[in-house]
């Protein structure tokens, strides 16, 4: 116990902290400028100087550790003088910009000067001049205003790990500049913007469009982009989201955001948003009324159900919609239409992989705390770049590396390249061989723990010596051995599994091998999730074989219980997966498809094929906020409300339930309300008047969400899963081994960039400015072999079709791959991809599409 006396107040400290933190814990205010609680201590601004007895000079409170018996004074005349002096110096060169500067009103320098600063200036000299830098698309730098507190630099380097900016020049001329020159060319996390105490680095998205005091409301809600579920605060003026900021102390992200979260909010106010329901008349979508559209859909669904039976109708739910939307939607499908034909795009990887892993380890195996990654001593990354797919999770991996943890990657992971990862780059389609080698070696080193017999029996079958593995995969044996060594000596390892490994050829076998690795070294598993509510859509029973709460449909007792709760029979027959639906539509056995907040024509492989299949439907209903590729084909389009305009809950990849709150108002209906109205018109009454009502029913019905309430969620996110195994281990682990690798040639790869995720981000101008258009990323070797250079237009063609794109040469791409994103309209990678399903995971295989690349126009 340390006792310090600050301003005559005795403060007892449990653990050693700085004098500043001790004072703040006791409610004593010490002004600071360069101090930021997320950053390393710096002691540069000299504003926090305090008097300490028996120390000859004033000390910086932010760097001075409190020692037992220390007597500190923070408010003396001498200190006030020093503070005044420091601030006077800072203002010598500060421009008279407050009327134009967007920071005025929330500027820390302003507040400090008002509280502690001088009242008149004594310097008559001219101020330094530096033009405002507007070269960057989303960030604006005004170095006249910079006070060189270096908070942005420390944030960029020490927290974000991007190390994109630094202080250049000396003395009065020092200022902050990106290493890349004018443009930042960085990860655009924008955390420097929230670190900057003055208006030196600011976002351009809302430049000059409001003043901080004009913001009417601040709403704490959840980011709509990826599965991490960061808490963000939407600041609103006149029902327009002006800015999105993080807040220190929130779960998961704690004051940090990524580029998507921070700069991707503008789609909410997009002019392209749908406003009225549309009905296709004579092949053209025409504006209609809500009554007409709802009546029409209800009537047509009713007719089709009577004529062909419920199984001729299917529904696609959405990992972008809330749990409430998805719950109501699956209930509508099961109760009103009498079919289990419901699925979502979580089927393209997440759902299958999670079911596979939970089948081995039990439910909740992937629900691990994201901040816990920072405390791991080794992180194995397989199948994707976590810093791009789930950036805030990626930051935790970087934090782990900074603390001395080993980063092990299979394939090149660009986001951690600065952290000296142990990197194995196997040849295309040889991941399984590599993992087999690792498992064999680990098995020998660590022995079998003996707790999960089914898995152990599989592990026993695996045998591939290291030298064989190394040879097959094209890595050196030394690297592989070191890799295994690092993994086997770790005591708290973590395993991060990305979609690339799930969607690889033989995905289920790779997952089995990864599970074996996790089992042998006792690693926590994190499954990367691309969509905000991918976990929730599965938990809500939007799957052909699951009821809400992940109860399998096939167990009669469970089904009976839901039937009793819903007062309606639930069909016994398992429904169709999303890919079955497309097949059935093609075959003509599916007559109607109801799509809620999803864009299958763009987000499923073989886009052309999907489009052709959907053309054969008698009724296609789409609920969306934009006119998507799918909506264009629809018979009826309902405009829904976006994420910021409604309440509900998201379940993140940790299975943390978090509350979405309404930030702006807009006319229209939430997805669930539209479904409830349609159901009502079909004679199935669902008595919900708010999202909270639905959640109340969910907590009554679903064992996973039992006894939860919005009130509890209001405080902070909570976990629905209470460790209760809901789905037993089935005893057998089905796997499909991959066929032998196809040698040579180029294969299509899906690029998952940091700045985009699907159809929302392409309507966010800020993100589009950062990453403007689709490119074909190839390795330098591939480029050299075909004498291509950066910017050349090429035609990338597969069996299905072709795309014409500019080339980007990227050293991070493997030689046999052409990486294309699936974000830009008409240029999606999935439009080239053949649809091949992994028989076990029922997820598409993404890396088997052979492509050719040639100069366009030849």
């Amino acid at each position: 116990m340390i006792t310090v006396t600050i301003n005559g107040k005795e403060i007892k400290l449990e653990k050693p902290v700085t004098v500043l933190e001790a004072a703040r814990s006791a409610g004593i205010k010490i002004p600071t400028l360069c101090y930021h609680e997320q950053l390393e201590k710096y002691g540069g601004c000299r504003l926090c100087l305090v008097e300490v007895e028996k120390m000859p000079r004033l000390q910086t409170a932010c760097t001075l550790m409190a020692a037992d018996g220390m007597v500190v004074r923070t408010e003396t005349e001498a200190i006030a003088d020093v503070r005044r002096g420091v601030l006077e110096f800072l203002l010598i060169n500060h421009p008279l910009d407050c009327p134009y500067c967007d920071k005025a009103g929330e500027c820390e320098l302003q507040d400090l000067v008002e509280k502690y600063g001088p009242t008149t200036g004594r310097f008559k000299e001219k101020k330094r001049k530096a033009p405002e830098s507007l070269e960057d698309p989303v960030l604006v730098r005004n170095m006249e205003r910079c006070v060189v507190c270096t908070r942005c630099v420390r944030m960029c380097e020490g927290v974000q790990g991007a190390a994109a900016i630094g202080v250049i020049n000396r003395g009065g001329h020092s200022h902050v500049e990106p290493f890349s020159g004018g443009r930042f060319e960085c990860e655009y996390c924008g955390n420097c913007v929230s670190a900057c105490p003055v208006g030196a680095i600011m976002s351009r998205l809302h430049r000059h469009s409001y003043r901080p005091w004009q913001l009417v409301s601040e709403t704490e809600t959840i980011c709509p982009y990826c599965g991490v579920g960061c808490t963000l605060v939407a600041q609103v003026r006149d029902d327009v989201i002006k800015r999105v900021v993080p807040r220190i102390g929130t779960p998961v992200n704690n004051g940090l955001l990524c580029s998507r979260g921070r700069f991707g909010y503008e789609f909410v106010g997009s002019k392209e948003r749908l406003t009225t329901p549309l009905i296709k008349k004579n092949g053209v979508l025409e504006q209609s009324t809500w009554e007409e559209a709802i009546g029409f859909v209800a009537r047509r669904l009713g007719e089709l159900k009577t004529r062909y039976g419920g199984d001729a109708i299917a529904g696609i739910a959405s990992p972008r919609c809330t749990n409430e939307d998805n719950y109501v939607f699956q209930k509508f499908m099961r109760v009103a239409l009498g079919t289990n034909n419901i699925d979502s795009t979580a089927r393209t990887g997440y759902a299958g992989a999670q079911a596979f892993i939970e089948n081995i380890f039990g439910q909740g195996a992937t629900a691990n705390l994201i901040p816990g990654l920072a405390n791991a001593d080794a992180v194995l990354i397989a199948g994707g770049d976590p810093t791009a797919v789930n950036p805030i999770l990626g930051l935790q991996i970087r934090s782990c590396a900074r603390k001395g943890g080993n980063i092990l990657t299979i394939g090149h992971v660009k986001g951690v390249r600065h952290y000296n990862p142990a990197e194995l780059k196997p040849n295309v389609h040889t991941e399984a061989a590599l993992l087999e080698g690792v498992v064999t070696a680990l098995k020998e080193k660590k022995g079998l723990p003996g707790s999960i017999q089914t898995l152990e029996s599989k592990i026993k079958e695996i045998h591939r010596p290291l030298d064989d593995a190394a040879r097959t995969c094209g890595v050196t044996e030394k690297d592989l051995a070191a890799f295994v060594e690092a993994l086997s000596t770790a005591s708290t390892p973590a395993l991060v599994i990305g979609k690339e490994v799930i969607q690889s050829a033989g995905g289920s076998y790779n997952l089995l091998l990864l599970s074996a690795v996790a089992y042998l070294v006792n690693a926590r598993i994190h499954l990367l999730s691309e969509r905000a509510n991918e976990q929730g859509v599965v938990d809500m029973g939007c799957a052909p074989d699951l009821l809400p709460g992940c109860r399998p449909l096939s167990y009669v007792e469970f089904r009976r219980r839901y039937e009793a709760a819903w007062k309606s029979p639930i069909p016994e027959k398992q429904g169709m997966t999303i890919f079955d639906m497309i097949d059935a539509a093609k075959a003509g056995s599916l007559r109607a498809l109801y799509v809620m907040g999803e864009n299958p024509v763009f987000n499923l492989p073989n886009a052309k094929g999907v489009e052709a299949a959907l053309r054969g439907l008698e009724l296609l209903v789409v609920q969306d906020i934009f006119m998507t590729e799918t909506a264009r084909m629809a018979d009826v389009v309902f405009p829904a409300l976006s994420w910021a305009e409604r309440e509900g809950t998201f379940t993140n990849m940790e299975r943390r339930l978090q509350l979405l709150r309404k930030a702006v108002n807009r006319e229209g209906m939430e997805d669930w309300r539209i479904v409830v109205e349609v159901a009502g018109n079909m004679g199935v009454r669902m008595h919900f008047s708010s999202a909270e009502d639905i959640f109340a029913e969910i907590t009554r019905v679903s064992p996973l969400h039992r006894d939860l309430s919005y009130e509890e969620l209001e405080k902070s996110g909570i976990y629905p899963y209470k460790g209760e195994p809901l789905r037993g281990v089935t005893g057998d682990i089905a796997v499909a081994k991959p066929a032998a690798g196809d040698g040579g040639g180029l294969f299509l790869g899906i690029e998952r960039p940091l700045f985009h995720s699907g159809t929302l981000s392409r309507r966010a101008p800020g993100l589009v400015k950062i990453y403007e258009t689709a490119v074909a990323r190839i390795s330098p070797a591939t480029a050299a072999a075909r004498s291509l250079k950066e910017g050349d237009m090429v035609r990338v063609s597969s069996v299905i079709g072709y795309l014409e794109l500019p080339v980007a040469v990227d050293f991070a791409v493997r030689d046999a791959l052409v990486m294309i994103t699936n974000n830009f309209e008409g240029r999606g990678a999935l439009s080239l991809m053949e649809l091949v399903l992994d028989p076990v995971l029922r997820a598409p295989v993404a890396d088997k599409t052979a492509v050719t690349i040639e100069k366009a126009g030849r």
């Binding site: 407050c98 009327p99 134009y100 005025a104 351009r204 000059h208 469009s209 003043r211 005091w213 004009q214």
Partner: protein, 184 residues
């Protein structure tokens, strides 16, 4: 009761005194004025209808810093700004809801540029609410109407406060110097 009091009571003395005063008033000039036929000009510095000042080049002085709206006790000033073509801040809309305004003149005190003013114009009754929603254009028009010429300059000299001489003593302050001439 004394006899004096009785007499006073019997002869309605106090009532007659009062009536005498009323009667005398009959011969005084009326103090009322026949508005609107006879108008009383507002005193200089009257806090009437708003106007947005123009600078010497005839452009609006306002840069959209928003201080007037922040200080406004009735929150009736709405400013919308955006980034212009040359990346400078431009004022798209400057609107005052006159029906909410309480004419305290705090906006004038808040403005660092001397862009918002209160004119001496007070007769602006209208029959619709919309007419009281002052847009940027209407406010600039008011400037041309009510502050034309040197009047505008004088306004800022005298009524744009506080000025640095407000804080220091200076010569020529209003002081009591006996009754004004001609009234003694």
């Amino acid at each position: 009761m004394t006899s004096g009091k009785i007499l006073k009571t019997v002869f309605f003395v106090e009532i007659l005194k009062g009536l005498a005063l009323t009667f005398r008033t009959l011969f005084k000039h009326p103090v009322t004025r026949r508005y609107p036929k006879v108008k009383v000009p507002a005193k200089a510095g009257f806090r009437g209808l708003h106007a947005l000042a123009r600078n010497a080049e005839g452009r609006m002085k306002c840069v959209g810093c928003g201080l007037c709206g922040a200080y406004c006790p009735s929150k009736c000033i709405h400013i919308y700004t955006s980034e212009g073509d040359d990346h400078a801040k431009i004022v798209d809309r400057y609107e005052i809801d006159v029906l909410r305004c309480i004419f305290c003149g705090f906006c004038v005190e808040a403005c660092p540029f001397g862009a918002i003013t209160l004119s001496e114009h007070y007769e602006y009754s209208e029959t619709s609410r919309g007419a009281f929603y002052m847009t940027r254009e209407k406010l600039l028009e008011n400037w041309d109407k009510y502050f034309a010429g040197p009047k505008g300059e004088r306004y800022f000299k005298e009524f744009w406060l506080p000025q640095s001489n407000t804080y220091s003593s200076y010569e020529g302050q209003a002081m009591f110097r006996g009754r004004a001439k001609g009234k003694e």
